[in-house]
């Protein structure tokens, strides 16, 4: 019986394993949740099977369907829909006009059943982002049959049942569909490192101590060394504005999560293509900026340069003076890109867009003949940042070789 629950949780995309299921069974056999309350079982199953609050909502959904399927077994009395609750919902949803419009003579049980189904649908659609009533409108109950008389008759509830915890779905906003989380990003970025010993010497160095003691004619001479630390410096240039707005934040998060892994990590923004200036604060981009050429002076050659951008732009933005969509640029974008790529030893362009748009600048077919286009796409090692850890690993490998 519980295997069904287990299966439906797994099907909902929650990572549960057999071990957790066995824990659940062990707990039950030890007499936990013996109070015959379904809420207790719900709590206990959640405790055993779910290991992250963002999966709570998925669990609630799975548990709901499990509960519905087995409702006869779980509790014979609780077959009925909570009529008082339904009534309140009806009042909320239907205006007086609607109530008048609708006339049908289905019996109350059918109405309730249908209503519950509708309500569930509404929940789902609501989750998709539509407003509760908005799109549904009056048609929502148009053909399901609602009898004003029936409401009054059924309005005297004989069996009360409160809305169940899992139906409230309180954890809905904790559910995130992010496929790359900070942990696996960190694991991937771990490869991006060169360990060197710098800083305070606080690690006991056995080998050196033996050597020094031997030299000292057996008189103890203790040596310390500093801990191994990552000496990789990373410079991020993130495309912001327009089509990149959705991605900029996630890119920032990705790298701020990994901040502690590197010796130093710095970021700047640009729009579509790198021109004279880059900036740190997008709101004050017109007053607080840094000249792109300053990067060459303030960062050493072995800093790893990472561009993050979807590279959705017109060819003019790269190849012609004045091609920028925001200001008049004296020199074409490619001048600055070349300047940066000539200076830094290692650089990649990470593209957060889906595969079809992967190739930089390739959406413009007439651009094919231009030499600059070839230059730019040959020069960059391009990797997608979205959803695939693998590409990130590949790019970090390249950066560190």
């Amino acid at each position: 019986m519980f295997l069904k629950l287990f299966g439906s949780i797994r099907n909902n995309g929650v990572p549960v394993t057999l071990k957790e299921y066995l824990d659940l069974l062990e707990g039950l056999s030890l007499g936990l949740c013996n109070s015959n309350k379904i809420e207790d079982f719900y709590n206990f199953a959640k405790l055993c099977l779910i290991k992250d609050e963002k999966n709570y909502d998925k669990f609630d959904r799975a548990f709901n369907s499990f509960y519905k399927e087995n409702i006869d077994i779980i509790n014979q009395i609780q077959k009925n829909v909570p009529e008082d609750w339904v009534l309140n919902e009806l009042k909320k949803i239907l205006s007086k006009k609607d109530k008048k419009k609708i006339s049908n003579d289905k019996d109350w049980d059918d109405i309730l059943k249908e209503f519950e189904e509708r309500l569930n649908e509404q929940k789902k659609r609501h989750e998709g982002g539509n407003k509760w009533i908005g799109t549904g409108g009056t048609s929502m109950f148009g053909n399901s049959g609602y009898n004003p008389k029936g409401v009054r008759v059924g309005g005297k509830p004989s069996n009360r049942r409160a809305i169940k915890v899992w139906e409230k779905r309180v954890y809905q906003n904790l559910d995130d569909q992010v496929t790359i989380n900070t942990r696996n990003i960190k694991m991937a970025l771990r490869r991006l490192r060169k360990l060197t010993r710098e800083g305070i010497q606080d690690e006991f160095d056995l080998e050196d101590t033996i050597k020094a003691t031997a030299k000292n004619a057996g008189l103890l001479n203790i040596k310390y060394r500093s801990e191994k630390k990552n000496s990789v410096r990373v410079l991020l240039l993130i495309d912001i504005g327009g089509s990149m707005d959705d991605h900029a934040k996630s890119s920032e998060q990705v790298f701020s999560a990994a901040n502690s892994e590197f010796k130093s990590l710095d970021y700047f923004y640009f729009h579509n293509c790198v021109y004279e200036n880059i900036w740190k604060n997008n709101y004050r981009r017109n007053s607080e900026y840094l000249e792109t050429e300053n990067l060459l002076r303030s960062y050493s050659k072995n800093t790893k340069l990472i561009f993050i951008g979807d590279a959705l732009m017109s060819p003019y933005e790269i190849t012609y003076p004045g091609g920028s969509v925001e200001h008049w640029n004296e020199k074409p974008g490619v001048f600055y890109i070349k300047k940066l790529t000539n200076y830094f030893d290692k650089f990649v362009w990470l593209n957060p867009e889906e595969k079809k748009k992967l190739a930089i600048f390739s959406i413009y077919n007439d651009f094919e003949r231009s030499n600059e286009k070839k230059y730019v796409s040959n020069e960059f090692k391009r990797y997608r940042v979205s959803n695939e850890k693998v590409n990130l690993i590949n790019s970090t490998k390249y950066l560190c070789v």
């Binding site: 990572p15 394993t17 071990k19 957790e20 824990d23 062990e26 707990g27 030890l30 936990l32 949740c33 809420e39 207790d40 709590n43 206990f44 959640k46 405790l47 055993c48 779910i50 290991k51 992250d52 609050e53 709570y56 309180v170 954890y171 989380n181 900070t182 942990r183 960190k186 694991m187 006991f204 056995l206 101590t209 008189l219 103890l220 203790i222 502690s260």
Partner: protein, 281 residues
């Protein structure tokens, strides 16, 4: 068998009580997550009080290593002693310092072991503790001896969600997320801490507290512990419910808001809202 329940100083919700009791019965570590200030650390103290046993605390920092919880071998002082001809040198066990876990394993009464803020440590830290927490035993290389727990301690682990924990580690724990308390629970919590507080003051303070929490765009939502601190100040200053209610309607920051809003940007946000509502009227 003694069961955990709400105490005089601590209000636990039904699902939390169930979680604690289940993890004690099945002898599995309980991983507690939740917003800061929802009483994660306090829970361990209350369990220790309830079962009349010792609370062994292990506060995790970013530099904490897993083996520090087991034991540390002080090679340097042994070398020193060998030069001085100390007799202690013959026995390596003299230079093994017991860590928190070792102490917990050896304690007579089933102790409560609190591993506080495990997400602060290095990303591999939880993986290094898998075997120790699962089998409650570890091996001391220096003395070639096995240390096994006399009684499996009640293990409570808290996390603030700064880092994701590895799956293998999660599989060995029970997990409970303390969600933010509802109004009824909030009232109970306030009662537990300030038994003599007036009913209308509770209502007024909860109301303005929740308005602040529910304001869109707020960076750091005030938590239960901040509400309690704020109430303490209100009681000390003898501010009555009516003053609080007056402000509620005008969208003005409540008195002594410093206890609730800890972020400059949030205070600014509220001043803006207050300004807007004033110019509207």
């Amino acid at each position: 068998m003694v069961q955990f329940s709400s105490t005089k100083q601590y209000v636990a919700t039904r699902d939390l009580i169930e979680a604690v009791n289940a993890s004690i019965t099945l002898e599995k570590p309980l991983l507690i997550k939740g917003e800061p200030g929802t009483g994660k650390t306090k829970l361990a103290q209350e369990i220790a009080l309830k079962f009349e046993t010792k609370l062994i605390k292990w506060n995790i920092k970013s530099t904490t290593k897993a083996h520090q919880g087991l034991y540390e071998y002080d090679a340097v002082s042994r070398l020193r002693d060998s030069q001085l001809g100390d007799k202690k040198v013959k026995d390596i066990a003299n230079y093994i310092k017991k860590g928190v876990l070792w102490n917990a394993f050896e304690y007579k009464n089933k102790p409560v072991l609190l591993i506080d803020e495990i997400d602060k440590a290095d990303i591999e830290f939880p993986n290094d503790l898998l075997q120790e927490l699962d089998a409650m035993e570890f091996f001391v290389y220096e003395t070639s001896s096995f240390i096994k727990a006399k009684q499996r301690p009640i293990v409570i682990i808290t996390s603030n969600n700064e880092k994701d924990l590895p799956d293998a580690f999660l599989r060995r724990c029970f997990f409970h997320y303390i969600s933010f308390p509802d109004i009824a629970t909030l009232e109970k919590i306030i009662h537990v801490h300030y038994p003599n507080i007036k009913k209308n003051l509770i209502n007024a303070s909860i109301k303005s507290f929740l308005t602040i929490r529910d304001t869109a765009g707020i960076k750091k939502k005030p938590s239960t512990s901040e509400l309690l601190d704020w109430l303490k100040l209100i009681l000390a200053d003898d501010i009555d419910a009516q003053d609080l209610m007056k402000n509620n309607n005008k969208n003005i920051l409540p008195p002594l808001y410093g206890a609730l809003l800890k972020n400059e940007a949030d205070v600014e946000l509220f001043q803006k809202i207050a300004f807007m509502s004033r110019s509207e009227s």
